[in-house]
């Protein structure tokens, strides 16, 4: 059965990293483990064409979304078969399970991932199916088990390391920065570290300051890692699978509040490209770049904006490191205005880096300065109203767009 890469996650085969190479899946030294099942060939689904797509990258196939504002639905649905509906955490679990079935080198380690089923149920049922050696309940020692995952990866295993909350991974920062990110380089290419480090982060519902951190801003400088953020069940499953198959260390950022999003995803196997952004809503007037939970605030604002007569183009950047500057650049070329909406804090966040990158690369295309809406530079307060004020709200997005589009 041929699998398809669906639109919105379309693969420009000529560009960026191809994360998929079935031959690379089995490390030659691991003779005792059976080889991964030979994988299916992937073909790119050729979707319908549209005039506005001419400015988009050649070979980028995607299904066009109607120009009406789309509230919260992701853009894609199966072009064949009926697909099945599930919640985001189930999509992550499906992706993880499929990859564990496919490749016996994949294992999961983290706190309460095994018998408990995972604190957000992402690993539910996996311990019963795969056993204790492949789904490992670790004691509470992030530094040690992250290091262990990296050490195991040096030999060819592919651990998926879960941080129960991204904030806890600060304790493992040394391992992530020095060992995970740098070993491939400092060993002259001898070792690859195919780990996936994943976990929920972001501002939740009154979880308090320490449990509402956005680690993507701290990790973004680490050379040698890739960072992706999922936002829909569709891209959650696709990114999980791609991250596991990638030979590079990938940090997959999930969001505490998005685990119960429901969407219909294809029945057949698919992966998303790790380095690509997702076109959520094409438009003409302004490019809004966002990721993770803020995507939904942006789409909510988009509804209001459309009613007011604006036509925003919304891109979910998905790949936080490296940025998909091709899609972003093409969009800027078209609209000449950029608004970045992110959940990181103002100082040193993803938005800050993205602003710098856009200004450097696409300065000539800009009609107005790049505006970046971020969370406030404060520890997230407990009180509900204050917490609301720390993150960007749809009303602020509308105001910002109006300001930029004057």
């Amino acid at each position: 059965m041929a699998a398809r890469i669906h639109g919105g996650a379309g693969a420009g085969a000529a560009t960026a990293l191809s994360t998929f190479n079935p031959k690379k899946l089995v490390a030659p030294s691991r003779t005792n483990l059976p080889a991964a099942r030979s994988s299916k060939r992937y073909i790119v689904a050729a979707a319908g064409s549209d005039a506005s797509k001419k400015s988009l990258r050649v070979g980028h196939s995607q299904k066009l979304i109607a120009n009406a504002a789309v509230a919260t639905k992701a853009d894609t649905s199966a072009t064949t078969g009926t697909g099945h509906e599930l919640l985001l955490f189930e999509a992550l679990q499906e992706g993880l399970e499929e990859e564990m079935d496919r490749d016996p080198h994949v294992c999961v380690m983290g706190e309460d991932v095994g018998h408990y089923g995972g604190s957000y149920k992402v690993t539910k049922g996996l311990a019963d199916k795969f056993g204790d050696l492949r789904v490992l309940d670790t004691p509470i020692c992030e530094n040690a088990f992250t290091g262990m995952g990296i050490g195991a990866a040096m030999t060819g295993l592919r651990p998926v390391i879960e941080g129960m909350n991204m904030g806890f991974l600060l304790l493992a920062f040394n391992q992530i920065s020095n060992n995970c990110g740098m070993l491939h380089y400092t060993s002259g290419g001898q070792f690859t570290i195919p780990v996936v480090i994943r976990g929920p982060g972001g501002v939740g519902r009154q979880l308090g300051a320490e449990h509402s951190q956005r680690l993507e801003s701290y990790f973004q400088s680490i050379p040698g890692i890739q960072m992706v953020a999922c936002s829909t069940p569709y891209n959650a499953k696709g990114l999980m699978k791609a991250a596991i198959r990638s030979e590079n260390p990938v940090i997959l950022f999930e969001h505490v509040l998005l685990y119960n999003l429901k969407e219909k995803i294809p029945d057949e196997e698919y992966i998303c490209n790790l380095e690509e952004a997702e076109m959520v809503r094409p438009g003409e007037h302004i490019t809004i770049l966002t990721y993770s939970r803020m995507r939904y605030h942006v789409m909510q604002a988009a509804k209001t904006l459309v009613n007011k007569g604006y036509d925003p183009e919304v891109i979910d950047i998905r790949s936080l490191k490296p940025f998909d500057l091709y899609m972003i650049g093409n969009s800027v070329k078209k609209t000449h205005r950029v608004l970045i909406v992110e959940e990181c804090m103002r100082t040193g966040g993803i938005g800050a880096s993205l602003t710098a990158a856009i200004n450097e690369n696409f300065h000539d295309y800009l009609d107005a300065p790049v505006m970046c809406l971020s969370s406030q530079d404060v520890p997230t307060p407990y009180a509900g109203t204050l917490e609301e004020w720390t993150v960007v709200q749809p009303a602020q997005i509308v105001t910002a767009v109006e300001q930029l589009c004057q």
Binding site: A14, A16, L17, S18, N21, R30, N32, L33, R57, V58, C107, L133, L136, T138, P139, C141, N143, A144, F145, G147, M148, G149, I150, G151, A152, A153, M154, T155, G156, L157, N174, Q175, N178, N179, L183, H184, Y185, T186, S187, G188, G189, Q190, F191, T192, P223, G224, Q226, S246, E247, N248, E275, P322, L325, Y326, G329, N330, K333, A357, E360, N361
Partner: protein, 394 residues
């Protein structure tokens, strides 16, 4: 004991390279007998939560001779590195292992190349013990492309994947969880191999050691944690940094063994014992009582926190190479002259390697961005010169 003719069909793995490199004049006299002989270690083992291994070590003349040669080579390499550093050909940090050679050599004698070793930044000799070439070591130290890490790692980042040598790590103690991960992978793939995780007395106070030890003991991982106790954590003596300097006992529920790390035969025995133990019962801690003659690194004279008398005292009484020399002479395995000739050869070997390494080119500018990601992606990295590395739209 009669000296036997050189046998080129000796099955001691360490002897093969030695045999072919000996010039004809010395071949006649040196014993390369592989018949097993038993030698008692000078000091007994002290154990914690386990039975100590026997003091009688099974070895052979050929093996002891190979110990001598390997340790002499390591010693020579470190001294050459010292001179190169002072000549500013090696920069940055350079941590030398001279005095501790018995550890690297004794360990290798007890294990195979499929057993993994991971260590800290004092890794030059461990790399050599794993089969690394002198030229590769010196090239890496001098930042040449020929180096074992393409010149991009430096002194603290030697790796040799095909010999299961996992480095070479700069952050104190960070290699311990990595090492337990290696052991986990060995258990996962059901190989009957073990991992030796080396760390120092300074790193023994790191929290991650205890975290990793807990997991290793919980999951029965074949990890052997080896504390290279050279009594100084950089400038701080063990009595000033550890409430309990009995590092082999600190595992509490994990068995431990204290070993005289300057006695290569004791090290060999302990590692052999530890390997058998780890494969059956999970982790074990080996504390190797050893000493380094140089300071912590080349920036540290090594004399502000210890007296010169102490250093020279250890050199006179406990030097590992001298011990093996005495053993060889007392058992009539080699004569004084032969050993001196061997040392001369080793010295020449090292000098040749240094000269060769000096000729090697430095890495190209484009190497800056290689091996960042696997299959270096088409997206360009942003370098200091933005004019060169910008994204261009099609």
């Amino acid at each position: 004991m009669a000296l036997s003719r050189l046998s080129l069909r000796s099955n001691n793995p360490f002897l093969k390279p030695t045999a072919t490199s000996l010039p004809p004049s010395t071949r006649r006299h040196v014993s390369t007998d592989t018949t097993p002989i038993t030698i008692e270690t000078a000091a007994p083992f002290t154990s914690h939560q386990c039975d100590a291994p026997s003091r009688s070590v099974s070895t052979s003349s050929a093996e002891i001779l190979s110990f001598f040669r390997d340790m002499a080579r390591m010693r020579r390499m470190e001294i050459a590195a010292d001179s190169l550093y002072k000549a500013k050909m090696i920069r940055g940090f350079c941590h030398l292992y001279d005095g501790q050679e018995a550890l690297a050599v004794g360990m290798e004698a007890a294990i195979t190349r499929r057993d993994a070793i991971i260590t800290s930044y004092r890794d030059h000799c461990t790399f050599l013990g794993r089969g690394g070439e002198l030229v590769d070591a010196f090239s890496e130290l001098m930042g040449r492309k020929r180096g074992c890490s393409d010149g991009k790692g430096g002194s603290m980042h030697f790796y040799k994947k095909d010999a299961s040598f996992y480095g070479g790590h700069g952050i104190v103690g960070a290699q311990i969880p990595l090492g337990c991960g290696l052991a986990f992978a060995q258990k996962y793939s059901k190989e009957e191999n073990v991992t030796f995780v080396l760390y120092g007395d300074g790193a023994a106070n790191q929290g991650q050691l205890f975290e990793a030890l807990n997991i290793a003991a919980l999951w029965d991982l074949p990890a052997i944690l080896v504390c290279e106790n050279n009594h100084y954590g950089m400038g701080t003596a063990t009595w000033r940094s550890a409430k309990s300097p009995a590092y082999f006992k600190r595992g509490d529920y994990v068995p431990g063994l204290k070993v005289d790390g300057m006695d290569v035969l004791a090290v060999k025995q302990a590692c052999k014992f530890a390997k058998e133990h780890a494969l059956k019962n999970g982790p074990i801690i080996l504390e190797m009582d050893t000493y380094r003659y140089h300071g912590h690194s080349m920036s540290d004279p090594g004399s502000t926190y210890r007296t010169r008398d102490e250093v020279s005292g250890v050199r006179q009484v406990r030097d590992p190479i001298e011990r093996v020399r005495k053993l060889l002479l007392s058992h009539d395995i080699a004569t004084e002259k032969e050993l001196k000739d061997m040392e001369k050869e080793v010295r020449k070997e090292v000098d040749d390697a240094v000269a060769q390494a000096k000729e090697c080119p430095t890495p190209e500018a484009s190497e800056l961005f290689t091996n960042m990601y696997v299959k270096d992606c088409g997206v360009e990295s942003f370098g200091a010169d933005r004019k060169e590395l910008k994204v261009t739209l099609p």
